[in-house]
């Protein structure tokens, strides 16, 4: 009971403090800025974004064509007699005469032609939409149906094509049972007036703004599955960038406040009084966090309501919020100056945003997209259901990593850590060393490595996301080295801190036992998490690079043990330089082992 009361008290203080510092001077300015923001947004929506104005230079001798182009500010158009145009035709991307387009043989020229043909098809649409006989203007309608195929991640990634190439002219024969499908109706079932309004609606969507944004289902036809051939297009990747801006940026903003609040406690040892009270550190941390957490959830809920999206979106966002707050806590506890705070948080937010954003580009296209919770949001907005397994799959790492980081924060929330002015790397190592118990160093090494597994997986998945798009051999090799590097560095962290803490106690015997504990902990965590969440990825070639230790238990244990021991031994012998050399050696051995396993696996 007392614990909960402490948390609530601290939350109340935090809210009062936040409004206190923000109060007098900030709130009027913030209100003014908010009003300005609304005014400016309205103005911008009206006038459009002018970034790409005049990037193409077009010349024509036809006034009607020039009129057609004038609606698109990307073209700066010259109307001149054809003789004048020919005189300096090199300065134009497109020359239009006699209803024919001549394209300059440059990237810019080609891109201009693409843009022009898009504009022209919009122009055609606007003309055809006015026709009395709509089915003369749009004689072909396509009812687009998608079929879900059971083979996914593994199939496309191991190089298997969408189908076998048959040399014969005989149609393929399915192996499964054929279920009778009713013949689709020949009539369209919708009145032509209905279709006309929908067509007009979808053509107006291409305004100045939507060219840059294509906000949510913007590219979706409001006609449902009925489309004209013109409307058939593969899903565009940039919808999700908007989601990042809409949902993640406010979260990032709010977590900055938490970060700052933690940092403020450290300036001039202000937090000393609070620490000297019997309130537990975890209560302080949670209490300070609660208002921000609530604020973030409220902001997200408000955004969801504003977007008229289902509130189910909040489910995948909660672990993201938790993860953001956990990193905010650690960054606030570790940085020595505002400069450092800014840069680490910018760095972190870039990495986190990419992790969230990049896979979700492939929503609807590839299963890898599911490693980002944003994909679940996109799916929800699109009205596609996702399963509890999908949820677990894309959010478990966020939950686990968030909790581990919080744990490290809580055990280090003490005077000697908060108010020291150590360098960043030293600080990380002392944070870890605090997390290691003095009485049972090996047990805590085991636990530490097991707990670090989510972080490792996150880093490795991040590498997967990063290298996934490179050509096949390069992506595999980079992934191989990257994954080994991440694992070896993580395993070495605990040993390094332990050795720093008590160099004299760290005998050869201790090194061996510590290495064994590390290897065991690592293996245990890896196994546990793999079976719970990542079976889909771990079955593909990429997966086997990342998580080779699925086969027997002895081989991977020996590998982990051997590699850690190498690192431990070289630290003991050579200090910092020895550490670097040890890591290089361990990564090399790890890579060789992985290559052996993969090729053994493939053949």
């Amino acid at each position: 009971m007392g614990y909960t009361r402490d948390i609530l008290t601290i939350s109340r203080w935090e809210i009062r403090r936040a409004f206190g510092t923000m109060g007098k001077n900030v709130i009027p300015v913030a209100v003014l800025l908010l009003v300005l923001l609304i005014v400016v947004t309205g103005f911008t929506a009206k006038s459009g974004l002018h970034i790409q104005d005049g990037i193409y230079h077009v010349a024509t001798d036809q006034p009607d064509i020039a009129g057609l182009l004038s609606g698109d500010s990307r073209f700066s158009t010259d109307i001149a007699p054809i003789r004048d145009i020919e005189a300096n035709q090199d300065s134009y991307d497109l020359v239009i005469t006699n209803n024919t387009v001549y394209v300059a043989d440059t990237d810019r020229g080609k891109s201009a032609a693409t843009t022009l043909s898009r504009d022209y098809s919009h122009y055609l649409t606007s003309v055809y939409n006015q026709e009395n006989d709509l089915f003369a203007a749009y004689p072909l309608w396509i009812d687009l149906q998608t079929i879900t195929s059971e083979l996914d991640f593994t199939a496309t990634q191991s190089g298997q094509q969408i189908s076998v190439r048959t040399r014969t002219n005989l149609p393929p024969v399915p192996t499964g049972p054929v279920e009778p499908v009713p013949t689709p109706a020949a009539s369209i079932g919708v009145t032509s007036e209905q279709l006309r309004t929908d067509l007009q609606q979808s053509s107006t969507q291409n305004s100045q703004i939507s060219r840059y944004t294509d906000i949510f289902s913007g590219s979706e036809s409001p006609l449902g599955t009925f489309k004209t051939p013109d409307q058939l297009s593969p899903p565009l990747p940039f919808d999700s960038i908007i989601l990042v801006f809409v949902f993640i940026f406010p979260l990032y903003f709010m977590s900055q406040f938490y970060m700052m609040s933690i940092m403020n406690e450290r300036i001039g040892r202000r937090g000393e009084t609070l620490l000297s009270t019997p309130v537990r550190p975890s209560a302080i941390i949670v209490g300070k966090m609660l208002p921000y957490f609530a604020g973030m959830v409220i902001i997200c809920a408000a955004l969801t309501v504003w977007l008229k999206a289902p509130l189910l979106i909040l489910l995948p966002l909660v672990p993201v919020i938790l993860f953001f707050l956990a990193t905010a806590l650690l960054i606030g506890m570790m940085s020595r100056s505002f400069k450092e705070l800014s840069f680490i948080s910018i760095f972190f937010s870039t990495v986190a945003t990419s992790y969230l954003f990049f896979p979700s580009i492939f929503a609807n296209i590839h299963v890898i997209s599911l490693i980002s919770p944003l994909t679940l949001i996109i799916l929800t907005i699109q009205g596609t259901a996702y399963t509890a397994i999908d949820y677990l799959y894309s959010t478990s790492l966020f939950w686990l990593t968030g909790l581990v980081l919080f744990y490290i924060g809580v055990v280090n929330f003490r005077e000697e850590r908060l108010f020291s002015q150590e360098g960043l790397l030293t600080k990380v190592s002392s944070f870890v060393s605090t997390a290691l118990s003095r009485k049972h160093p090996y047990v805590s090494l085991f636990l530490l490595n097991a707990l670090l597994i989510p972080v490792v997986f996150m880093a490795q998945l991040f590498l997967l996301v990063l290298f996934f798009n490179l050509p096949m051999p390069a992506s595999l090799i980079l992934l191989l080295i990257g994954a080994a590097f991440v694992e070896e560095v993580t395993k070495s962290v605990g040993i390094w801190s332990l050795m720093k803490r008590a160099p004299t106690l760290f005998t050869w015997r201790a090194a061996v036992v510590a290495s064994a504990a590390t290897a065991l902990g690592f293996l245990f965590g890896e196994k546990l998490l793999l079976f719970v969440t990542l079976s889909q990825i771990s079955q593909s070639v990429f997966g086997s690079v990342l998580f080779t230790s699925l086969g027997s238990l002895w081989m991977p244990f020996l590998l982990h043990f051997g590699c850690v021991l190498i690192v431990a031994a070289s630290i003991k012998k050579g200090g910092k330089i020895g550490y670097v050399l040890g890591i290089v050696a361990a990564v090399a051995i790890h890579c060789v082992y992985n290559v052996y396993i993969i090729f053994g696996w493939l053949t």
Partner: protein, 337 residues
Amino acid sequence: MLAILLQLFIALFSSFLMVGLTSMYDPAALSQYSHYQYPIGYCGADSDLKNLLQANGGLRVYDMDLSTALEALKERKLSAVIYVPDTKPDAVDPVKITLYTIQNDLQAAVVDVKLKDVLTRYETDLRQVRTARLNEIPVPLDIPSTPGASSFYEFVYGLLIPLLVLMPAIISSALVIDLITEEYQNNTLETLLSTPIGLHEILWGKVAAALVLVPIQAGAWLILLMANGISIAGAVPILMQVTAVAAFLILLGTITALYYRERTAAQFVYSTAIVVVLLFALAIPGNPLNVIARLAVGAAGPEQWLVLGLVSAAVLLLALVADRFAAKVMRLSQSPK
């Protein structure tokens, strides 16, 4: 130092993403699959569409029964199935075909692109048959197809490059807030002021430090982009534009920091203000970002100097304000409380 390192990392990293993205969505990259003949199931009545499909070299058309074809599609033995009803080309009603494709598949997207070509051609043919029923014939325009055109051209030059080079400017203006508020919050300013250095020197020193970083970082960005094979026409004028914009933003940050002297408040107000300023600027034709985009593609005229001049004038004005404000702050802090 740390700042530049992190910037460099982010730069490297983003260019990685870029390359990945472009190769993923570049039609040229996708066309490596194009020498495959994609099997298509054709069901229902015979039509001109079937001839068009068969004429396409990238597709192999099989006459099939709908139920069998759909099962084959599910097993990925076909890449798409088309059902065509028995509607005459000159009928009053439209021809409504049904297209079945596979979800969650990148190659299905390739097939979609191929099918779209064929279907658009079929639509044009059908429209030709029904042309007597139209009341207005649109202006004809013959646009040659441009193989190898990157759909990323506009994204790269018209969005990515302007935003990338703007990033150092924004980061530097946030940095100047950190530098100034830090002196206040750690109470180090008084120590500094007790030396012969005045507040003006301290202030302009910090502004200069933040400003110098901008062209270095933006230049690094441009070099990285060029290393990635993205040619940039006017790199030097771009850096001049960015530096001018950065000076404006940094001075804005300086004034905010001097006013609030506390990081949370200053950063909050400043970042909201910057959104307002940027949104407003973007809505004006010929804004610096537009000039940067045009410089990058090599389509900027002499008007770039006018924009540069205007921004510089605004910078001078703001510098004057900042200087006055600093003097006022100075007097206030010296007067007895």
